[in-house]
Symmetry: D2
Subunit: 290 residues, 4 copies
């Protein structure tokens, strides 16, 4: 039964105008390479004339076929259907940088899930505008850079940071309660590759002090939202949201305290999905193939 | 063991400046009338100088003591602590009017919970600006009035409606997807006695078409909010909120459809709490003693 | 853009041994008939040698091709991969019978979702061992049969019932708190076509009086389980489960009362999935392609 | 306003037969000592002849009155109503020992909440039958003992462990996935003072390998249960339960992996409530005054 051994577990991500024949072409293509489709998800905004999204997870068995050859061959199909597409291999792990400030709950959740194998990623570097979390980061064998940012030094420090990220060959960034607003230049250098956790149920309580605002409004549930960062503050594509029941007895500080638990859960899920190539962005929204 | 039989199950609701001795005075008072406290809840915004809220549920056994006498006697304590207060008896059921439009899900949920005994209330009348739900309402033995409202006839029709509500001796009103904005005059005639269900997780998506807005924003959870109506649209004190997980596959119509299930749940809970005198309003927020 | 109009929205359900080429063959087959795949889900217990499950939803545009012809043609592929399979058309609605006893909450939830269009099914008949719910059923224009069952008359009455179900051409049965145990003969006549709602979080509290057992054990969450009926009481394949937070203050009667809300939600979801052919049964478990 | 400063925040826990006058006596007693009641909860299994439970949180302002004096004075009231009772001061933090095996998720959650101040407790010592987690424990400045246990050495090693716990003056023990069954002697030495986390939704899947059993049964929700340890395995009073939605795609290992997230949440909540004296045990059930 087990005579075959997997050479590559791969993921193919596609978006294009919906039209008959896409699934047939893709699956025939993969079959011709002896691949076995282990998971396939698709979604169309409208079967007639809408946009089509697809994520196929497949196993390649033949070690003599380099993945690059498969990728190159796929160009013909991609061209025919005018696809936006990419092919990823599970064995090539993404490189993730984490930006933090002083709060450690989101950082620790990511590090714990990383070490336990729940998040299959490399974390070569953590960057912070405060030295607070240096020791804990280093105890995980991860490099830590303290890059303080002021209004005046912002652009310069951001350039330095981008340089550093390139040196580490970083694929994407997680803002784990970083508390700094990134410049438009920075954001465009990592388009749809920066994940932020906002400590409210967006679009409620945009901006600063969401727990104070939630307290003032007297809401009965508080929330957290993981989203891709765009130029518009807290307006980027939402990846995941989570909520928690509260009541009139919670002070602002208690909301902050229990809110940490939903923040870290929503962020960790978003990171896991990004790492597994389960998210496609379309018109400021996300398609998540869980 | 069961030689005593309850004459009155009562509820005492209090709010005043927090100060030592309130609980002692109230419980001693009740003890002197042979009452047994079966449930007691309290909350203070700040033990030193804040506002104190209390809800006491107690049983009176002595049938020879009229509840009015207990109420009158309590005035002395109320005056000493400068309390806002009221005493309610479970046997005197509140009279609730339901306002509907064309949608039936919230109405049916309330009627079902009423008939099954979950909501201990009288429902003498349902009022609507459409005749759509007349038959179902009448099948429950409840009077139905079709009072269509246009911009021009609004104030006149509202007067007529208030007159009708007084004839039915209505204590409070539930807007079960009524879809009309009540005038300031109407609202002030039933201050903190009108419960509305808004089909979003407030303060997100205030105003019209919240499901369309939720779809456009790409949220991963949709919600519903039951609140007391004030002059500011969707800004009144929140009583209860509920959410439901959705994803990119949901069209606006599907959001509307599944959203009905959270709307009716949040509204039914809010009505149950109001009926059981579990809600105190304070500075545009609610204290809910569940 | 919209020049094509759908003739048939169809669903193809497949299970077979996993092997390369299934998806390619199926999608090529559908493409050859001019079909557009609008949704496709698959699952394999093990990519190498496991069992493969697939649900494909597709649109046929050509009104000149009868669905029977497509079905017949598919036999060749089915044979090649030794598939268990069936093809359903959305336009051919399933016929559902509801069995009830005295409790109305599950029945009313189903009827409400049916009338509002959430559950796309025909409900020609409701059967009960009590006359209690006759009027409400008839008010929905649905036939009602009162078939009381005693130990002695059980087999005879069941035969009569099966006869009746065949007359109504019933596809599947929902036990909406029916409270009777069906005989082995009856169950085998509708294999994986009888859905029951058990008022506990199975496998906890199997059998009678689950709320009493939940109370005695002091659980902090109560649940409900919708499952296909098999010969082993409460042991059939689980379709859906839902829970609700409770605490020490809930009496057995209050657990029963709030439990109704999870029962009806879990059952309604299970029925919706069954009606939409989203459930495949495998080794006493379900694969649900939500 | 703030001229008073709190000398002691105290908690009074009471259980006795329900009878009129308890609340009045307790609140009058506290008022006589100039105490302000900041939170009060009560529950009765039956107002006529049942058991009454109460938790009062109060502030003492007068630094000249030692808490011991208040405690001593309360004996009179306690005797009158034949109360089981205890008085705790917030300033006297409990001492908690954690028992672990190789898994770190529950341990880390407790340590993180402890360091962030969410759990107001002292943790002088962690004990394990494996050396695996020694380094991480010591990095928090906590003593770690590796006490391996075999069938033959069990009683001897348990004695040694109890001795150690007494040396550290331990108030209660948390089994954070300890994976060993404690002897009856051990359990009785810490009655209702050992909290265990069981990785299932009890009473479903008692005993070993609950995730395997959950997988085999095909449940749609998995759970975790925090409970006090008694002689009957997994049968002790339930403190808290939490669940998580899963589906057919989860392998046993994936259930184990995501299950960790509910285990740590349920356990952490139970520990917080125990630490804050919010739990009363009664007839193998808990009254939790959240």
């Amino acid at each position: 039964m087990k005579e075959k051994s997997i050479f590559h577990r791969c993921r193919l991500l596609i978006s294009c105008s919906d039209q008959p024949g896409i699934v047939a072409s893709v699956s025939e293509f993969l079959h011709n390479y002896g691949a076995n489709i282990v998971q396939s998800d698709q979604y169309s905004t409208d079967p007639e004339g809408g946009t089509f999204f697809m994520r196929v997870e497949f196993d390649l068995y033949d070690a003599t076929i380099p993945i690059e050859k498969v990728e190159k061959a796929f160009h013909t199909i991609a061209q025919k259907f005018q696809m936006d597409w990419r092919m990823e291999t599970e064995s090539k792990r993404k490189k993730m940088a984490i930006f933090v400030s002083k709060e450690d709950h989101c950082l620790l959740e990511l590090l714990w899930r990383w070490r336990s194998g729940e998040i299959d990623v490399d974390i070569p570097v953590v960057i912070s505008n405060h030295p607070t979390l240096q020791d804990v980061v280093k105890s995980y064998g991860i490099d830590f850079y303290h890059i303080p940012i002021t209004k005046d030094t912002k652009l310069e420090k951001e350039k330095e940071t981008i340089q550093l990220l390139h040196e580490y060959d970083i694929d994407f960034i997680v803002l784990a309660r970083y508390m700094q607003i990134l410049s438009s230049q920075f954001v465009s250098a990592f388009k749809h590759r920066i994940i932020n956790i906002h400590h409210s149920f967006l679009p409620a309580f945009i901006g600063a002090n969401p727990y104070q605002k939630a307290f003032d409004r007297g809401v009965k549930l508080i929330g957290a939202t993981a989203h891709y960062v765009t130029d518009d503050l807290d307006e980027g594509p939402i990846i995941e949201q989570e909520v928690l029941r509260v009541n009139h007895r919670y002070s602002v500080n208690e909301l902050k305290s229990v809110g940490k638990n939903v923040e870290k859960i929503a962020l960790a899920r978003a990171v896991e999905w990004h790492v597994s190539d389960k998210i496609l962005v379309f018109e400021n929204k996300t398609v998540v193939f869980e």
